[in-house]
Amino acid sequence: MALMTTPNISDADGFYAALLAAHKGLSEAESHAMNARLVLVLANHIGDAAVLQQALALAREGA
């Protein structure tokens, strides 16, 4: 299976606002920790190892 890179969230602005709101009130370290948990939660939801490998590679690009 290929990693989906086309838009898949119908209300991108709404999601982005919700993402920031979820971090509200956290310190920077707490936000990093929350992001790490979020990555693990979403990765488990995806499950497919090939997709996860492609996602890791895309996120790493240009780092």
Binding site: T5, D13, L20, E28
Partner: protein, 515 residues
């Protein structure tokens, strides 16, 4: 040629020499919203007096981006075609991160609308056209008439007005405060805005130069010519370009105001020094509104009622939305056709529309001017990904341009009909004979009937054009026939496939209440 600011003639008002009869409506502020309001009321048979503390149009371009909906409203007021002819028409916006285009949008991908997606036109031109039109319809325009006090009574208000010849008192059943973001009327009533202030500063510069930038909205995140910050470029008529540059909260506004500071910044943007500064300003961001826009006999419209950060063109356009929702209702109240309680519909609808504008503006502002920490982290992550993965592009937020809101009306509806013309939405325009549907809708309630006979006994003006492709696409979809009840502000009030006169009459009654 620089704009020629001709002062309007002050004449001594009658109230200085004897008490004036009580006015029906007094509008405070002859900006675009106050002037549009006066013309709209005149179109509905109500004459208003307009009081302005100044005697010239807006100094500086200020509001420049007029949306399709605003142009339709201006057209109804009699200055739409003139505005489009003079203005720069555009519909495409491009957003860059450094030198790479990461997102673009086309605001009007389909043909068959009288008005374009957007027109850039300096506020002073719009005001000039509106003043001329207001004079044509007989509006009592009083320049250098500054309201210094307002006394509210149960059914009217008394204004104390300062003029070069002294003070006088003016009584009006209704006062509409269109006196701008720093509204003195708001302060006199002791009302305060609620909402967010952002710690950010932008420089606005209008420059005059010969150039061939396309008629598009160009926005840059972190361009090489303005490192680490954002920049926006808009083309205006008369070879004027609007450039907005993010300065950051730690900038010194007094220093940044100086031409010797501004000119080198602009040189880096345009790549040369062959331009002149026409107007500059420094602004901060606010996304705030009054809790209510109706305060007894005093009504608020435009910036006096709500202010937004400017990147969605939601200030002036939002104000014209207020004019649209208020004019027909207030006119009916003044003429005794409806109780004053219908003004609550204005309040509900425009608070709803304003909140949509505030939501979009504050999201754009947060993206453009992220706080330290996680806001900056995600903003930079989106920009980083945007040149690599399509999904991140729609998350790049350089402003979501003004669209009319869809009022969430509970009204008769048929789900199978096209979503774009559902109740609460502005009736979509379409070609109609030699003209346009927006022109044919008129100033009262009307029934648009397609593919069937109109039911008898509604008492409404009926529009039953031949069904063309654009009308089918925008109003019928797969249905063979439909009837639309359209409000005086061209908002769809209700729609049916099998209309009956009793249902239509009930929908008219409900429409006065609105949301």
């Amino acid at each position: 040629m620089p704009y020629d600011y001709k002062p309007f003639a002050y004449t001594s008002p009658p109230g200085l020499t004897g008490a004036e009869p009580r006015h029906k409506v007094a509008i405070v502020g002859a900006g675009p919203i106050g002037l549009a309001m006066a013309i709209e009321l005149a179109n509905h048979g109500v004459s208003a007096v307009v009081l302005d503390d100044n005697n010239v149009v807006s100094v500086g371009s200020r509001a420049i981006c007029w949306s399709k909906r605003s142009l339709e409203i201006l057209d109804r007021l009699g200055v739409g075609e003139r505005s489009v002819t003079k203005g720069v028409t555009w519909k495409v916006g491009r957003t860059f991160h450094r030198e790479t285009e990461v997102f673009n949008f086309d605001l009007l991908p389909e043909d068959g609308h009288k008005m374009p997606a957007f027109v850039n036109l300096q506020q002073y031109y719009v005001e000039e056209y509106l003043v001329e039109r207001a004079q044509e319809v007989g509006t009592d325009l009083r320049w250098k008439n500054k309201v210094v006090a307002v006394d509210r009574h149960a059914r009217h208000a008394v204004l104390t007005v300062q003029t070069p010849d002294g003070d006088y008192q003016l009584e009006a059943d209704w006062v509409i405060a269109c006196d701008g973001a720093r509204s003195p009327i708001r302060a006199m009533l002791g009302l305060e805005f609620e909402g967010e202030l952002f710690e950010e500063r932008f420089l606005i510069a209008d420059i005059r130069m010969q150039a061939d930038f396309p008629s598009e909205r160009l926005f840059w995140f972190e361009p090489s010519f303005h490192a680490g910050q954002s920049a926006l470029l808009h083309k205006q008529p008369d070879a004027i370009y609007r450039i907005d540059l993010q300065l950051g909260w730690d900038s010194d506004p007094e220093q940044e105001r100086l031409p010797e500071r501004i000119i080198p910044r602009i040189q880096k943007v345009v790549g040369h020094g062959d331009f002149t500064l026409d107007w500059t300003s420094i602004y901060t961001f606010q996304c705030r509104r009054l809790r209510s826009f109706v305060h007894g006999p005093v009504l608020f419209a435009g910036d006096s009622a709500h202010v937004v950060s400017p990147f969605g063109a939601r200030g002036g356009n939002g104000g014209l939305g207020d004019v649209d929702a208020l004019g027909w209702r207030l006119a009916a109240v003044v003429k005794g056709e409806r109780p004053a309680s219908v003004l609550a519909g204005y309040d509900r609808e425009r608070v709803f529309g304003t909140d949509e504008n505030l939501l979009n503006s504050s999201r754009s502002t947060r993206f453009m001017s992220p706080g330290d920490g996680v806001e900056r982290l995600f903003r930079d992550a989106v920009l980083h990904l945007a040149s690599r993965a399509d999904f991140a592009r729609p998350m790049v937020n350089s402003g979501r341009l003004s669209k009319p809101c869809v009022y969430p009306l509970s009204a008769p509806d048929v789900a199978a009909l096209p979503a774009g013309s559902r109740p609460g939405a502005v009736a979509p325009d379409a070609p109609l004979g030699q003209g346009w549907l927006t022109e044919a809708l008129g100033r009262d309630f009307c029934l648009l009937v397609l593919g069937q006979e109109a039911p008898a006994g509604t008492g409404l003006r009926v529009l039953s054009p031949d069904v063309t492709d654009p009308l089918r696409q925008r109003y019928l979809g797969q249905a063979a026939a439909a009837a639309y009840l359209i409000r005086p502000d061209q908002v769809v009030a209700a729609r049916w496939v099998n209309p009956d006169a009793a249902g239509i009459r009930a929908a008219v009654e409900a429409a006065w209440e609105g949301l």
